[in-house]
Subunit: 383 residues, 2 copies
């Protein structure tokens, strides 16, 4: 009776790793992931605690369970409660000219954390990783990193407290020492177990994980954290990055470092539905932060709808919110909880039609992109 997302018929295992996210039958099983990865669920008590400690309402990504899992986030809060600081680490693999909406999610959340806790932040652009996986030239990878950096700066981080670097420009010195230390603690069998490499993979793939691991250690940044080698690190990221930090947490005590803590988000779904995450390499699956108002209208064409096929049926049966992409996007980007509830109720009841919801989403996204474009123009001096 209700609309369902298109699915491959045969029973498929869900695959979630830093290079592939594909759902099994019935979408991504986030509960299963938490169990499989061995991380913890982010519960209401922890979210209340964040609100209390920071004196501000929890971010909508917390309120709505979009950041839903963590590792030792409570330890960070314990320290903060005692008056100690920590630092944030997040990053991006620059694979496309500009960010899409899904890429904004960790940066938006990281900005909130930086503002709320008033802590330093390091941002890694893994141009050396994308060079590998995307078969780019070094110069093209570096160029994409620079382009992406503009979008990231446009997110509005505290410039006094933020250090952004690309691997091709920054690897060396203490950072390289830590890469070597980490790599000495991880066997080939271990990375195969964590990342699923094959013997035909080139050795750069096998040697990359330490590069993403070491920004978790303050000693990788002596110019920022000299004398603070035991400062704790909190990493906001999507849950597909968990394998890197599982490895990092395993190695940390063996090289005299603190384990990083994590807060982990759900994936931002493709326009076509939640069976995979939005991908920058498929323009029909993604909305870019540089899309024009006209281009944002691809929502109307491509966003998978949980609404019924005709207005009559919709009024009679209502939409299936579980699979509806516009509602999922509103869940990420519409700030006001009451507005969101009203839309969901009306749409689920059948009072709101699909076209109306898509238009509402279009307005929200247009506003978001317009704000981003203005901020980006200030970064590049085009504003």
């Amino acid at each position: 009776m209700t609309a369902v997302a298109p699915k491959v018929e045969k029973e498929e295992e869900q695959v979630v790793n830093p290079w592939e996210v594909s759902a099994g039958k019935g979408g991504i099983g986030y509960d299963k992931l938490v169990d499989q990865f061995g991380c913890q669920r982010l519960d209401a008590a922890t979210i209340d605690r964040v609100a209390r400690l920071t004196g501000r309402p929890p971010h909508r990504f917390l309120r709505r369970g979009l950041f839903f899992a963590h590792r030792d986030f409570n330890e960070i809060l314990d320290l903060y409660e005692k008056g100690e600081k920590f630092y944030l680490y997040t990053g991006r693999g620059p694979s496309s000219e500009s960010l899409h909406l899904g890429h904004l999610v960790p940066f938006m959340f990281t900005k909130y954390l930086q503002d709320a806790f008033k802590v330093p932040l390091v941002i890694q652009l893994t141009d050396d990783e994308k060079f590998l996986w995307k078969n780019l030239t070094v110069n093209e990878s570096k160029r994409l990193a620079r382009e992406n950096a503009k979008d990231i700066i446009a997110c509005g981080f505290d410039v006094e407290k933020t250090f952004m670097f690309s691997d091709f420009n920054f690897v060396g010195g203490a950072f390289y020492e830590n890469m070597v230390k980490v790599a000495r603690c991880v066997t080939y069998n271990k990375v195969v177990g964590i990342f699923g490499f094959s013997q035909e993979d080139h050795i750069r793939k096998i040697s990359f994980p330490p590069v993403q691991a070491v920004p978790s250690f303050p000693s990788s940044f002596p110019h920022l954290f000299s004398g603070m080698e035991q400062l704790r690190c909190l990493i906001p990221c999507a849950i597909d990055q968990d394998p890197y930090f599982r490895m990092t947490r395993d190695v940390a005590p063996r090289i005299g470092c603190q384990k990083p803590s994590l807060t982990e988000s759900r994936f931002f779904p493709a326009l076509q539905g939640e069976s995979t995450k939005m991908s920058a390499s498929d323009p029909n699956s993604a909305i870019y932060v540089t899309d024009s108002e006209e281009e944002i209208k691809k929502v109307n064409k491509y966003a998978f709808s949980g609404g019924q096929d005709s207005a009559e049926l919709q009024r009679e049966l209502g939409a299936n919110l579980e699979v509806d992409v516009p509602v999922k996007y509103l869940n990420f980007f519409l700030e006001d909880d009451d507005d969101l509830e009203q839309i969901k109720k009306g749409y689920g009841d059948g009072n709101l039609l699909t076209g109306k919801v898509k238009n509402l989403l279009g307005d929200v996204l247009s506003e978001l992109v317009k704000r981003h474009t203005r901020a980006r123009a200030q970064v590049t001096g085009d504003g």
Copy 2:
């Protein structure tokens, strides 16, 4: 009838790789190595050509077949003949406080090449490698690199034309870019085939070979070779380093680089005999460049002799020069060909006794070490 070196009874395969040199039955089979590695023999015509092109007699290491193999050395000579330059690259893994005599061999030969061809030289100290294999701390590895650097400088390179660096201090920028490029061209299966790694080896071992590969490419040193990215490279080294450069030569054309050429030496034997090379980690097998005159007397005690057990037998039968370590050392370090022939003849005939030959060697080594000590003291300011 003649003395023979002590040997393991069972038939053993010879193993030669950057971390292990152990002879099969009958000592290192250099001919077999040349065939197995696929390099070329350094013939008399090439040595004559070197003499002609440089206008000076060939180094004793060439005259005596101690540098005995090469890869495309003739191409370097072709270019040189046409008036083009090249650069030299050699290095050292700093595993001990000071160099032993065997370590001096590539540096002595490199100095000769630099003087004869008047070309630039880069010297890599792989402190990041020794950190791995020897289980040192980063700081201890760096300290050993600095200590070894003093011994290397004492060899007397042209300071205007020589750049020496340690990996922990230098990796980054263009050098790191080249590491990543090389690693993208080499599969796990390939390094296992070349280096024999196991799945229980840590990933740092697997990711190290590109670090030793990239000094072969001028683009790794933009501060030296900007605009000279196609400059050819000649690597003087012991033949156990061949696997690194086999890999490098395989990758080079795929990343738009020239293949490095090599000249490859025999191993400098341990005091105990030619079944293995001199090892810095066994003080009874090695003579260090910092040994005192007293310590050099370990030659008398430990150097495996091809002489007979008694003076009578020696006079009757003569020494077996094939296995005699003092003669082998004289072969490396006694400059005068006539003197060497005279000693070999007298010793082989039985006219010279073992004690006398060992004393002659002691004199040569004392002189060598004294000269080195003086040069080193000038480097450190202790002179």
